[in-house]
Amino acid sequence: MDQPVLEFSDVTKRYGEVTAVDRVSFTVAQGELFTLLGPSGCGKTTTLRLVAGLEEPDGGEILFNGQPIASPARGLFVQPEKRNMGMVFQSYAIWPHLTVFENVAFPLKVRRESAQTIRKRVLEALELVGLGGLEDRGATQLSGGQQQRVALARALVYTPSILLLDEPLSNLDAKLREQMRFELRSLQRRLNLTVLYVTHDQTEAMTLSDRIAVVHQGRLEQVADPVEVYERPATSFVGEFLGRTVSLEGQMRREAGRGWVDILQGMGRIQIAEDRCGHLREGEQVRVITRPEDIDILPRGEAGVNQVAAKVDEVAYLGDHIEYSVSVGGRSFLLAAGKKERYSVGSEILLALNPAQVTILKL
């Protein structure tokens, strides 16, 4: 396996009493777009700033291209300007007293490139982000989207080994955000960039990332590719954060190499493949997590395998679909369904779960 570009091992950052980053470990491989996803204040931005060298860790070690760049135990800390990383700030941090050209040229000037090289590479970088011809504009005459492109060009112009993006799309309006997301992804593919991306937006994370790390209270809850994070959340926090989930409690049953979950004492049973429940014991209390879109509503009949008895509490007609509030035992949740079959309030129904799309967590 290739050497990872970035490696965090047991990195901790404390602010007084608060532990912002708590023994975090992960690696980012060459050419990978790695996303730190989490709610605000979870420590994801702090993690990014630790990478950039804008914060100093209190413990652990950060390796960059195999070399340690921050290691409190060894008293080692590489200053941000010595790390050769590119960063796009959430506010873009476009220097208002410089033109577009001067903004992008700044990192090259610092590196004492010749005027000729600077001109060539700045124009290339601006072309790359779609700002060709705007180099003489003042930085303050740009729209939000253009400022963001300048920030991106500025971060790319010196071909850094890693690009750090701190919520780069959060200040754009919805339409522009979608466009930039697409452009960012194709740029990353084309240049084979290694990117560490920070966001609180799960759609962004799902569509952009090779791998996602879900961050919660300074810890990584799960590190996996988007499909796995969504479909097999490692914790209930991950499940809930990534979208609406349905969670049902039940008891684990195992018998002759088969396993199933008894939902709420006899409301139904869900069969579980052996490889998904090997770590669980007979009789253990568990939680079954699945997504509303993986549940089908059936008229009440004999409950078959992977079906759970439920009742319709409320019906909302939403034009293209119908939303039902259903309850299983005492727990209620919302389910969307097509208009072909309709159920009225009070109807007894069956919920059909897809056993391939459920996650079992120990309670």
Binding site: G16, A52, E56, F89, S91, P107, R111, R154, L164
Partner: protein, 579 residues
């Protein structure tokens, strides 16, 4: 909320960047020396019976002598009385004018605001001199006019009196700055509060009296108390108008002690120390008061007022009154400065060819004038540049996320010390340091000593202005430069410095102006070689050369106003407390 915020930001970078930490403490130490040491020396000096620079002899005789003199306590009492009495009319007028500008449809409100702004920068001493020209019992123009009225025998105005001093204070420095502070406060008052009162049936006046003023009273009171404390620092007016008739305030008393031969340093420092105690007590209560009032400030609502009170036919009365006030307090004295400077002998309108340019000629051909001009320019330039360099660094340290709590708190309080410390006491403490230490050669009686004292005095406003500027920029711009590969120094030079340049120009101009016109600070520190223009003006006034003084005063005033107008033209906002 705030506490957790600081807890979050403070320990950043701790442990790393040792030089930075060292720099911080060096800055604190430097500031402690600069602003704290004069106070310490002042206090210690009061127990020293020997002259500064001689071998120290400790004793309490200075205190005994100072207080066996009944003049000492009466001077302190006079300071407080004048400061209290002058606050009352000034506050009433300032509140009224701010309300008219901010909340009513008075025609030309913006212009009125601008005039207040300009009047604030008109130096006070030339204006005091102008009031002498107007009110002097023997040759004052208004008294001469009054004599021609029936049933008036003697002079009816006398500036050399308690009420004369109060009047001149009110007219010259009374209301301008207060209006500048109050107008934004009135603007921010949520319109809904006033509208609710109107709907409930209250008329304009009732609304102002029963709703607006009570809601704003904590802030109005805070401004009044601060004005009172600042008023205690007053020196110029009392010196020119009080000293000739034996009305002493503590600052003029200190001046007298130092200027007598031999200088009575002991008594002066004892009196200064007593005043410091009075000041400390006042500040303590002011602080307590402010803390108690904080919860009242619910005033800044989202309902930013656009609806203005309609004055109807009264608006011309209001405008007329404001214009009249400006005419009487600003234009009339300025006109008489001009007339005075061109009269052969001021007050004698009936002699043959009463007007002459001789005083202007004399002024410009006076070698002392040229030397003073040079001194003034050196002092003002040094003060402006030194202030920019020093306080931009201090402000940077203050807002830096790397700064530790201890550092920022000590720096912050040291910066505010000169705001409440009267210029004359700061100078007295510095004078003691200059005399008693090896710095004597460089600083005693030189332009550098004066510039240093002025730089110290500029610390609060300048630091706050830079702090606001840095805060507005935020840390991202600097951090982006760091990540892009720039060293800290490079980022500071290429990114931060150019961005705060407008603020630097603004405060530089302000400090240049105040250095040019300051009297209290250089008055104890100058010598014949380092005499600045403002002191020359003081000397002309005391020597009875009113005509030449009027010319010089006018020159300073015009120069100051021009500078401020140019600054405003450049788009610089020159309010008292930063951007």
């Amino acid at each position: 909320m705030k506490a957790s915020g600081t807890a979050l930001t403070l320990p950043l970078f701790r442990g790393r960047l040792r030089p930075f930490l060292l720099g911080q403490w060096a800055a604190v130490a430097f500031f402690a020396l600069l602003t704290g040491l004069p106070v310490v020396f002042l206090f210690l000096g009061s127990f020293n019976l020997a002259a500064p620079g001689k071998e120290t002899v400790y004793g309490v005789q200075n205190w005994i002598r100072a207080f066996s003199d009944s003049g000492t306590l009466s001077a302190l009492w006079m300071s407080i009385s004048i400061s209290v009495v002058r606050i009352i009319p000034a506050m009433v007028l300032a509140v009224l004018m701010a309300w008219l500008i901010a909340r009513t449809d008075i025609p030309g409100g913006k212009t009125l605001e601008f005039l207040c702004w300009l009047a604030y920068f008109v130096p006070d001493f030339p204006m005091v001199l102008a009031w002498v020209l107007l009110l002097d019992p023997n040759f004052g123009f208004l008294n001469t006019m009054a004599r021609s009225l029936p049933f008036v025998d003697g002079p009816i105005f006398n500036p050399y009196s308690f009420w004369g001093i109060v009047w001149v204070h009110t007219a010259v420095t009374g209301i301008w700055f207060k209006v500048m502070l109050l107008t934004p406060i009135f603007r921010q008052l949520g319109a809904s509060l006033e509208e609710a009162a109107r709907v409930s049936g209250a008329n304009n006046f009732t609304t102002l009296w029963r709703i607006s003023l009570p809601v704003l009273s904590p802030m109005i009171l805070a401004i009044a108390v601060l004005s009172f404390i600042r008023g205690l620092q007053s020196f110029n007016t009392e010196l020119l108008l009080g000293t000739p008739v034996g009305i002493y305030v503590y600052s003029t008393r200190i001046y007298d002690y130092i200027r007598q031969e031999p200088p009575a340093f002991g008594e002066a420092t004892a009196l200064g120390s007593v005043f410091l105690f009075v000041l400390a007590i006042l500040l303590f209560f002011y602080w307590r008061f402010l803390r108690g009032q904080r919860k009242f400030t619910v005033v800044t609502g989202s309902g930013y007022s656009t609806l203005k009170v309609k004055l109807g036919k009264w608006k011309y009365v209001a405008l007329g009154s404001c214009i009249f006030y400006f005419l009487v307090t600003m234009i009339l004295p300025l006109i008489f400065l001009v007339i005075g400077s061109f009269m052969r002998r001021y007050g004698f309108f009936n002699i043959k060819s009463p007007f002459t340019t001789a005083h202007w000629m004399n002024l410009f051909s006076d070698p002392i004038f040229m030397v003073s001009l040079k001194n003034s320019l050196i002092i003002a330039t040094t003060t402006a540049l030194g202030g920019i360099l020093l306080y931009s660094s201090v402000a940077y340290l203050l807002i830096s996320r790397r700064a530790t709590l201890g550092v920022s708190m000590s720096l912050e309080s040291l910066c505010w010390l000169p705001h409440v410390m009267p210029g004359i006491l700061m100078s007295l403490g510095l004078l003691w340091i200059f005399l008693a230490t090896p710095f004597r050669v460089v600083l005693y009686g030189t332009v550098w000593g004066i510039a240093l004292a002025l730089i110290i005095g500029d610390s609060p406003v300048t630091t706050q202005a830079f702090k606001a500027a840095f805060l507005q920029l935020g840390p991202d711009l600097e951090e982006a430069a760091r990540v892009a590969g720039a060293s800290w120094k490079y980022a500071y030079r290429r990114i931060l410095l150019p961005l705060v340049a407008p603020v630097a120009a603004t405060v530089g101009l302000l400090n240049f102006g105040s250095a040019l016109t300051s009297i209290t600070t250089p008055v104890l520190l100058y010598s014949a070689q380092s005499r600045p223009l403002s002191i020359l003006l003081l000397e002309y006034s005391f020597a009875g050369e009113l005509e030449r003084g009027a010319a010089l005063g006018l020159l300073i005033t015009v120069f100051m106003c021009l500078m401020m107008l140019i600054g405003r033209k450049l788009g610089l906002q020159l309010t008292g407390t930063g951007r």
